[in-house]
């Protein structure tokens, strides 16, 4: 347990340009504090994220991956987030079959106006991953 308390998870976040990234931006401009464990990659849409990048992040040792998109019904491209949800469902099922922990992948809808919710999401996820402990693949070179 003591080890987990000092463990700082590394989380890769794929955020959609129109909602969650703007939400993260708002959190910043509103000077809201959230843990610095997150590395953000901006995408045009959560629906344009190929699962290979999530898998790659996990295999290379990221402790968690956050995928952020617009709330259902709000997608800038109408249905990208619904399709992302289906893809993430497949991804989690594949990860589970492969013996990896699907809990390390989070899908969450955060709108451009929800700066506070974004900060809260990061806090919540960091705590969750901290409890899970470091990604065992961090030391696994034979993958």
């Amino acid at each position: 347990m003591a080890e987990n308390e000092t463990f700082e998870p590394k989380i890769i976040a794929f955020l959609c340009n129109w909602c969650t990234y703007a939400g993260a931006d708002l959190a910043g401009t509103s000077r809201l504090q959230y843990p610095a464990n997150i590395r953000i990659i901006r995408m045009m849409c959560s629906g344009s994220l190929d699962p290979t990048y999530v898998v790659k992040a996990l295999l290379e040792g990221a402790d968690g991956v956050l995928i952020g998109g617009c709330h259902p019904g709000d997608c800038h491209y109408l249905s990208g987030n619904y399709k992302a949800r289906r893809r993430v469902a497949v991804l989690k099922s594949v990860l589970k079959d492969a013996g990896l922990d699907p809990q390390r992948v989070w899908l969450r809808w955060v709108s451009a106006s929800e700066g506070g919710y974004f900060a809260e999401t990061v806090r919540e996820m960091v705590e969750h991953i901290r409890k899970l402990g470091p990604n065992p693949l961090q030391l696994e070179w034979a993958v």
């Binding site: 190929d50 290979t52 289906r86 497949v90 013996g99 969450r108």
Partner: protein, 377 residues
Amino acid sequence: MMKKITNLDAGDYHSLIQQFLARLLEKETVYAVLVAKRYPKGRNAAPVLVRDPEKLDGCAPLAPVQGFNAAHAIVELTREQPGMPAAKPRRIAALIRPCEIRATIELIKLKQVQPENVFLIGFDCPGVYNLKTYRDLPDDRAEPLALARASVEGDPEDLREACRLCTSFTGDSADLSLAWMGSDAITSEDGSTLLVDVRNDRGEELLRDADAEDVESPPEREAAVSKKHEEREQRFNEDAEELLTLLGPCVRCYNCREVCPICYCKDCLLKPEKMGYTPERHLNRAAKKGQLKMPLDTVLYHLTKMNHMATSCVACGVCEQACPMDIPLGRIYNRVGRHAQALFDYVAGRDREEQLPVTTFREDELADVQNVKKETS
């Protein structure tokens, strides 16, 4: 709806099939048929496109070997030629295995097969052996009908694993399917009728001039089918295996991608050059974990392939026999595919009207996938 084809000369099951296909050609129902034949030398059997009814001699669709998934051949035979004047359409009938029919249906949805001029004929499939097993079989077991005859008693131990796990061994998603299970048609040397299951209007059209009569569906067949179904379902193991260990020996030869009927992309994301690696990046990666395995990214390759094609995987098992390292890919993909398809209540190749799961969505679904904030008061 069951029908039987009559006015056939007495013979074994393959000879009856041969006469039926010859009739389709002679009556000009179709221009050519695609059916597995045994090659003149050696014991390989593989699909042959036959135009001349005389050349159907030796056709052996039930021969227990499958070098590749015949859906590849259907892609080749229906390829669109952009910019070329449209040729006069000529219809073909393909007598292929149920998994090949399912793969063809997935490829229709993926816009790789033009379905209009292809009739799909299936059959009760006894399965096949792995290529190496087949090569080393004694002659009597390698006979074209030997496996089908033996499978009545149960699947042989050395049947290919994908086939031992296959529960869609009847040609239900075909236009027409040859039905022998539960009857003595397969063992008889002098049968004279061929029982067929007409699955849709296209199947009906195919039988237009084939001397087909309506018959009652024999209850023996249903019993035999459900018995085999149960037997195989029991072999399926839900539990996750140590997949990462199983995939360990992979040498990234890409054979499983090349033979996979669903992996149709001309420009695969998984080519190393697509990943944009530079020597410098390799060194940086080696520094990160202290060491870097070559060939690179073998597990990433498999997990990505699974993500891309699991919802369309028809569990044909050709990947398994193509693997030089004997990784049990048939079993792995069977499980991964089943679980992924179950999420959407989808079965790859079941119905050509069903949309591919990843191209559609419902507004209200998969609530447990989203990490919605837990309600706090």
